[in-house]
Amino acid sequence: MDLKPLSSGPSPEERAAVDAVLGPPDAAPGAPRGLAWASAHRHLLLPALRAVVRRVGWVRPGALGYVVERLHVPPAEAYGVASFYALLPLDARPPAVLHVCDDVACRARGAAEGVAALRASFGEAGTVRDGATFHTSPCLGLCERAPAALLTVAGEAPREEAFGAVTVERAREALATRRAPEDVRPPLPQRGAPELRLLARVGRVDPTDLDAYRAAGGYQALRRALELGPAAVVRALTEAGLLGRGGAAFPTGKKWQAVAQAAVRPHYVVCNADESEPGTFKDRVLLEEDPFALVEAMTIAGFAVGAEKGYVYLRGEYPLAAARVAAAIAQARARGLLGPDVLGRGLSFDLELCRGAGAYVCGEETALFNSLEGRRGEPRNKPPFPVEAGLFGKPTVVNNVETLANVPWLLLHGARTYRSVGTAGSPGTRLFCLSGCVVEPGVYEHPFGVTLRAVLERAGGVPSGRSLRAVLLGGAAGSFVGPGELELPLTFEDTKQAGVSLGSGVVLVLDDTVALEPLLLRIAAFFRDESCGQCVPCRVGTERQEELVQRLCAGRPEGSRATELALLAELGQAMRDASICGLGQTASSAIESAVVRLGLWKGGAS
């Protein structure tokens, strides 16, 4: 490899920020710590670049040059990596940036109008005033407090603060003071209800205190797992019929079994906490309010599949969740619940927290591995599947946060009790993210099989005097369903049969005050923004889909509306059939469902 260094060097601040992640360089000026060290630390590329952004606000060429020199990564490749992630800007930015969500759930609560007012008052997105600017952002996962924003302030003591109930006044206050205004966090609607499994501790047990977690039953499941042995733990998962909650509903026991039996070593456990599906915030609530449960569940997973190392890949836009999980890992380590001798039982397992950098596609499991390895978050072709060749090419269990949250409860209560609620095909409970036009938005836990109507009613339904127009079920990658479909039982099997998907548990409620077309435009723009660009059907298809939706919304079809709708359907089929990953395969789902299920552009709703 013949590397040509970038011309300009780092500033002292940038150098210090990078060295804080990579350790000090060798004594010889500019000498890398050896090729072997560099290739073993390639995965620190993203953390190093993130540290630069947290210190100075953006990736200056000199800082990029210093990082590639330290890690011996080709500059073109590192540039390609940085340019992939929204939170690693390569253009000059002021220290304070307000990321204002204008995605679907916030739009249902007036975000579009709010952003327009902010433009009128502060200037276009990107305008810099007194070292601060704003940009619009895809879903920030604060949908119960919509409209939401995230303030990032670079500097010696960098800050990231999310807040809800954004108004022009609150946004301008944040930009002027570089502090988030007071954020009222509504309590969990079902707090303390006896039937709760996954949310039982939320709002009741101090999430920052390991002793409080243990007093509330924490770490009994790990002890139980150690008594049972790895094979029995996997068997319990299989007997309980636990299905993955990330969207694909793959049997978790089968996944764990495959990794446990894999001959290649080492094995890894990865928690997919890159919750980015628009309208989804359930994992955030678990991470913020019950982080020790995740640590315990991953330790159980490590024990069951023979992994000594686990990674939590947490989306970059969740500062509180990151702080809570980091603190939980540190406390668990300090108390011998992570490390070389967990619980004094000879079990070696430790966890590392890694943060995403603004890329929805990294929620796709193989894109997540690439991102963890310090590469562009491009999904890999499957097969091989992660259980065979996952993180660093080794057998890997990768589970969603909610899936893992089921594990301790399941082991303590047994498979039979676990199956006592839910249906035969979808045992247990499910978290639903209620947002949009509902009286009491928030995360709810219901047994599988609950009807959509019951879920809406538990959240208070639409505000009085208004009527339900549609529900976006499963997120931007999900489907719209109409008011005539409320008896749908929410299970994997029933939704599949109805041609929709539970996805990540999104129940985004839209009443008659919300126009559908702007939401469809936002969804089309979302997928165009978030496509990784690797495969043609998704890279060009999401662009063409947005153009088509724009023409249909503007009432200016190319040819007739019928030919445009036919083209939209063909495009959707090609994206579904021929894209590499789930992003492209589902990018047309919501838009097509608006046409097919709600009758949009066919003389129906508009």
Partner: protein
């Protein structure tokens, strides 16, 4: 060439069915290998025999019984009992759309194979309207040896592979950005002479669309003087060093207008160095 090969243990074979016909391929072969063995012409764009398949163009997709989606034949390994259809309605639709998406966004005028595919699948890229976004941009001419016309780039990744660990190990280029604006780039988009490029031209050798082209060819084409019907090809051995790379010289009017190497050559596997690819100005 005669080689004394050691006697290898018999390779296991895999039996599968493609378009109703049984076919047997060695273990490790792809569905594309199986199709080619049966003489089925599967279109490919991002596939090259001398590089690992990246399966990003998706024009080679086939329908595999039991699979939820279509699968890329260039990279999917054949497994016993697979039942594959290469010309089903689903396959034809996806291939047609992929070709329409490319032809509506990229200048394919120097990619003759694609024109043939467009006709075969009845592709009508104009369906996306005159306002369809394209990757049109000025040609990058920043050095004496070759030009980069990214308005013709389909992001097949071949140049990045050839520049990187699969041939040259120079790593001067990579993909930057994401989604539709994703593009091949040096670090910070600096001109080639400021990058790590060593001008081996192996990126030109693997480019399927003519986005990367030697300057001689580019200038002849711009002048309307690139005339394939007046060209001949001559196979020879590179005169420079002792490696003995095989060269394929394209000659027009007694003048060498292009030097390449055959991807099937056991010496080069299609790759050359700066001398072999560009150092023939002395030949008259």
């Amino acid at each position: 060439m005669s080689l004394h090969l050691p006697v290898l243990p018999e390779r296991r074979t895999v039996e599968l069915t493609v378009d109703g016909a049984p076919v047997s391929v060695p273990e490790g072969a792809t569905l594309l290998d199986a199709c080619q063995k049966l003489g089925i012409d599967v279109p490919t764009l991002c596939f090259a025999r001398n590089l690992a398949p990246v399966n990003v163009c998706r024009v080679c997709v086939v329908e595999l019984a039991g699979a939820r989606t279509l699968v890329p034949s260039c990279s999917r390994k054949a497994e016993p009992g697979m039942v594959v259809a290469t010309d089903s309605e689903r396959v034809r639709l996806s291939r047609r759309l992929v070709l329409e998406l490319l032809a509506s966004s990229v200048d394919l005028s120097t990619a003759p194979r694609v024109t043939e595919y467009l006709a075969r699948y009845g592709a009508r890229p104009e369906r996306f309207g005159p306002g369809a976004q394209t990757v049109a941009q000025p040609v990058k001419v920043d050095n004496d040896l070759y030009v980069r016309d990214y308005g013709k780039c389909i992001l097949c990744m071949k140049c990045v592979q050839a520049c990187g660990s699969e041939a040259q190990n120079t790593f001067a280029i990579a993909v930057a950005g994401r989604g539709f604006p994703a593009h091949i780039s040096t670090e910070l988009d600096v001109p080639l002479p400021e990058s790590a490029c060593v001008y081996c031209g192996n990126c030109i050798g693997v480019c399927p669309t003519g986005a990367l082209m030697g300057r001689t060819e580019h200038e002849l084409r711009a002048a309307g003087a690139w005339e394939p019907e007046r060209q001949t090809e001559a196979e020879t051995i590179c005169p420079y060093c002792g490696v003995g790379c095989s060269l394929v010289l394209t000659v027009q009017d007694d003048r060498i207008v292009r030097a390449a190497s055959n991807e099937r050559s056991e010496v080069t596997r299609g790759h050359l160095c700066i001398k072999g690819r560009f150092g023939w100005a002395f030949v008259r």
